[in-house]
C-alpha cells in the first residue's frame, strides 16, 4: 500500500495513458455523475407523472430559459469557488450592470443593434469593475471574501436604487427584447448564449493553464505561491471574471424580462452557490467541474418546475434543495476524510 519500491509491476503506473475503461470508471464515480443520475431520475419521474405537460416542448423551453441567466453567473462562481473563494455580490452586480446598461441605452435613445452593443459594453465594463474591486479587496487587501462580497452586494444594489430611485427601468430597446425572446434554429437565443458561455468556461477551466492555476490555488495557495504562480493576481482575475459574467447575465436578464428587475436577484448568489456545490465543487476549493455546475443549476430548476406542474406547492422545492445541499457538502467532507489518510 505504502510501498515506493515493493509494488508488484502489474500495479505500477505505466507510460500508457489511462485506459478508456479506467477513465469511464473515474467519471462515473464522480459527484457530477451521481448528480446527473439524480437529475435524470427527476426528469423521468416528472415525465412519467405528467407526460403531457412536463415533457412538452413548451415546458422544457421554460426550464432552460429559467436556468440560462443563473447558469452564466454560476460559471463564474464555479471558478471563484474552485480557487477557494466566494462571491455573494453577483446578484447585485447583475442588477447594477443592468441598470447602468439600461441608462446608457436610454441615453443613446435610438433603437438598434448599435444601441444594444453599447449597452452590452456598459454592462460588461461595470460588471468587470465590480469584480476587480472585489478581487482587489480579497487578493490585495486580504479582506475575507465573504465580507468583501457581502459589502459589495449591498453597495452595488444600493447604487442601483440610487440611480433609479427604486423604480425599474423599462425602456429596454426592442432589438434587445427581440434577441432575448427570440430563437435561433428553434432554440431560444438566451439558451444558446448561455450554452456558449458554458462551453468556453469548460474549455478554459479544464484544458488551459489558467484553469490549472485556478485549481492549484484552491488546493494549496501557499504551494502555488512557492511554485511561482502569481496567486494574488490570479485570484483578482477570478473575481473580475465573476463580475464580468454577472454583467453578461445582466444583458440576458434585460433581454428576457425587458426590465431591470431590481427586486429579482436577491437570492441569485445563493442559488449560484447551491448549484456549484450540488455539482460537486468543493467548498474548500481545489475540486470542481463546469458540467457539475450545469447539473447543479438544473436540479433545482427541474424540481421547481415539476412541483408546479404536479400541483405541489413550489415552496417545497426550497425545502428539498436546502437539505440536499447540506447532504452534498456532507458527502464531500466524507470523501475528503477517506482520501486524506
Amino acid at each position: 500500500m505504502t510501498g515506493t519500491t515493493t509494488v508488484p509491476p502489474a500495479e505500477l503506473a505505466t507510460l500508457a495513458p489511462p485506459s478508456l475503461g479506467r477513465r469511464l470508471r473515474g467519471a462515473l464515480t464522480s459527484s457530477p455523475a451521481y448528480m446527473s443520475g439524480i437529475l435524470l431520475l427527476l426528469v423521468l419521474f416528472f415525465t412519467f407523472m405528467r407526460p403531457d405537460t412536463f415533457a412538452s416542448a413548451f415546458n422544457l423551453r421554460n426550464i432552460f430559459l429559467d436556468a440560462s441567466v443563473l447558469l452564466v453567473i454560476a460559471i463564474g462562481m464555479t471558478y471563484v469557488m474552485i480557487a477557494g473563494g466566494f462571491d455573494l455580490s453577483v446578484g447585485s452586480v447583475l442588477v447594477f450592470s443592468g441598470v447602468a446598461a439600461a441608462k446608457a441605452m436610454e441615453a443613446v435613445g435610438r433603437d438598434g443593434i448599435g444601441t444594444v452593443a453599447i449597452g452590452t459594453g456598459v454592462a460588461l465594463v461595470t460588471g468587470l469593475a465590480w469584480g476587480l474591486f472585489n478581487g482587489f479587496c480579497v487578493a490585495r487587501l486580504r479582506v475575507s471574501a465573504l465580507i468583501t462580497t457581502l459589502g459589495s452586494m449591498g453597495a452595488a444594489l444600493g447604487m442601483a436604487y440610487l440611480v433609479t430611485d427604486g423604480n425599474d427601468i423599462r425602456t429596454v430597446p426592442n432589438t434587445l427584447i427581440a434577441i432575448g425572446t427570440g430563437n435561433i434554429g428553434g432554440i431560444p437565443s438566451l439558451v444558446l448564449i448561455s450554452a456558449l458561455f458554458t462551453v468556453i468556461g469548460m474549455i478554459i477551466l479544464h484544458l488551459t493553464r489558467y484553469g490549472r492555476h485556478t485549481f492549484l490555488i484552491g488546493s494549496n495557495p501557499e504551494a502555488s505561491r512557492r511554485a511561482g504562480i502569481n496567486t494574488a493576481g490570479h485570484l483578482m482575475s477570478l473575481y473580475a471574471l465573476s463580475g464580468l459574467l454577472a454583467g453578461a447575465a445582466a444583458m440576458l436578464s434585460l433581454g428576457r424580462f425587458s426590465t431591470t428587475t431590481l427586486e429579482g436577484h436577491g437570492t441569485d448568489p445563493l442559488e449560484a452557490v447551491t448549484a456549484v456545490v450540488l455539482g460537486g465543487t468543493s467548498l474548500y476549493g481545489g475540486r470542481g467541474t463546469v458540467i457539475g455546475t450545469v447539473i447543479g443549476v438544473f436540479i433545482p430548476a427541474v424540481l421547481a418546475n415539476g412541483f408546479i406542474i404536479m400541483g405541489v406547492q413550489p415552496f417545497w422545492q426550497m425545502v428539498v434543495i436546502g437539505f440536499v445541499v447540506i447532504g452534498a457538502v456532507y458527502a464531500d467532507q466524507i470523501k475528503r476524510q477517506t482520501q486524506d489518510r
Binding site: 500500500m1 505504502t2 510501498g3 515506493t4 519500491t5 509494488v7 500495479e11 505500477l12 503506473a13 505505466t14 507510460l15 495513458p17 489511462p18 479506467r22 473515474g26 484544458l207 488551459t208 493553464r209 489558467y210 490549472r212 492555476h213 485549481f215 492549484l216 484552491g218 488546493s219 494549496n220 501557499e222 504551494a223 502555488s224 505561491r225 512557492r226 511554485a227 511561482g228 504562480i229 468543493s282 481545489g286 475540486r287 475528503r336 482520501q339 486524506d340 489518510r341
Partner: protein, 272 residues
C-alpha cells in the same frame, strides 16, 4: 548555468568551490533576530546537513536561500556568481529547489499536475500560445522522472490525496529533482515518516546526491544526519558555529554543538 554538465560528473573533493555559498546573512522579524550573519555552503555531489536547535534559524536561512524571504544583509553566491532572489521563482531560475516539510503539494490534483506546478507544459503551436496544457507530455515526463529515481507510484491518474504519505513525499522530492540544476533543500524530509519509509527516503537522498546535485538536508534527527550527510553545518542563535565532515562524528558531538556547551541557557530570539 553553463557548467551544469560539468557538475554532473563532479566528484566531491575539497578543492572544488561550493556550488552555493552564503555569507553574513542577517534577517530580523520585528525585534526578533532570526539570523545574525550566518554563513553557509554546499558542494555539488554532497549531502550537507544543516542542523540546529529550535529557533537557531535553520528554516529562516533555507527560506532566504530559496527565495521565500529576502535577507536584511548578506550575500549569496551560486557557482561563485553573486545572486539575489526576490521570489521563489528567481531561486528556481538559478536551479534551486526546495522540498518543504509540508510537501507543498496540491492534494486535489494528479502527481503530474503537481510535478509541473507553476511550470506547466503547453501544447506546441497555436493552442499552446492560447494556454492549452500538454497533459500527455507532463504525465510522460513525470513518470520518467519517477522511474529515474526508482520511485514507483501506484497510480498516476488519481489526486495526490489518495496516495500514501510516503508516495506523496516521493512526488514532492521527485519534483524538486526534476527541476533542480544546482541545489535541493530538504526540510525535515523524514519527520512524518515511519522507519521503513525513512530508510527509503535516505536512499533517495543518496541517489539524488549521486546525480551531482548539492543536497541540503535540514533535520532534527541526528541518526538520519549521521547516516546520510557528507558534511554537517551547525547553526546556533542565527550563526554558523561549526562545519565538519561527517567522519567519526557522534550524536553527542552534534547535540553538544547545537545546544552550545558554553552558553546553554540562551533562549530563542534573545538579543545579544
Amino acid at each position: 548555468m553553463g557548467n551544469a554538465a560539468e557538475n554532473l560528473t563532479h566528484t566531491p573533493d575539497d578543492s572544488a568551490g561550493p556550488i552555493l555559498e552564503a555569507r553574513g546573512i542577517s534577517k530580523s522579524f520585528g525585534h526578533v533576530e532570526a539570523l545574525r550573519g550566518a554563513d553557509f555552503s554546499a558542494r555539488a555531489g554532497e549531502v550537507t546537513a544543516l542542523i540546529g536547535d529550535n529557533g537557531a534559524g535553520k528554516s529562516t536561512l533555507v527560506k532566504i536561500l530559496s527565495g521565500v524571504y529576502k535577507a536584511n544583509a548578506g550575500e549569496i553566491f551560486i557557482r561563485g556568481r553573486k545572486v539575489s532572489f526576490d521570489s521563489p521563482a528567481a531561486a528556481h531560475a538559478a536551479g534551486i529547489e526546495t522540498v518543504y516539510q509540508d510537501l507543498s503539494v496540491a492534494q486535489d490534483l494528479s502527481p503530474a499536475a503537481n510535478m509541473f506546478m507553476g511550470r506547466e507544459k503547453l501544447l506546441p503551436g497555436l493552442l499552446g500560445r492560447l494556454g492549452f496544457l500538454d497533459n500527455a507530455a507532463m504525465r510522460r515526463e513525470s513518470l520518467l522522472a519517477f522511474q529515474r529515481l526508482k520511485v514507483s507510484l501506484k497510480d498516476m491518474d488519481t489526486p495526490v490525496a489518495s496516495l500514501s504519505g510516503g508516495q506523496r513525499q516521493s512526488v514532492a522530492i521527485c519534483r524538486s529533482i526534476m527541476w533542480a540544476r544546482s541545489v535541493v533543500f530538504m526540510d525535515e524530509p523524514t519527520a512524518a515518516l515511519g522507519v521503513v519509509q525513512t530508510g527509503r527516503t535516505l536512499d533517495l537522498i543518496r541517489r539524488i546526491r549521486d546525480t551531482g546535485i548539492a543536497v541540503v538536508l535540514i533535520s532534527h534527527n541526528m541518526r538520519d544526519v549521521i547516516q546520510v550527510a557528507d558534511v554537517i553545518e551547525v547553526l546556533r542563535l542565527g550563526r554558523r558555529i561549526a562545519r565538519m565532515p561527517n567522519k567519526g562524528v557522534t550524536v553527542q558531538d552534534l547535540v553538544g554543538a547545537m545546544t552550545g556547551a558554553l552558553d546553554a541557557e540562551t533562549e530563542e530570539g534573545a538579543t545579544p
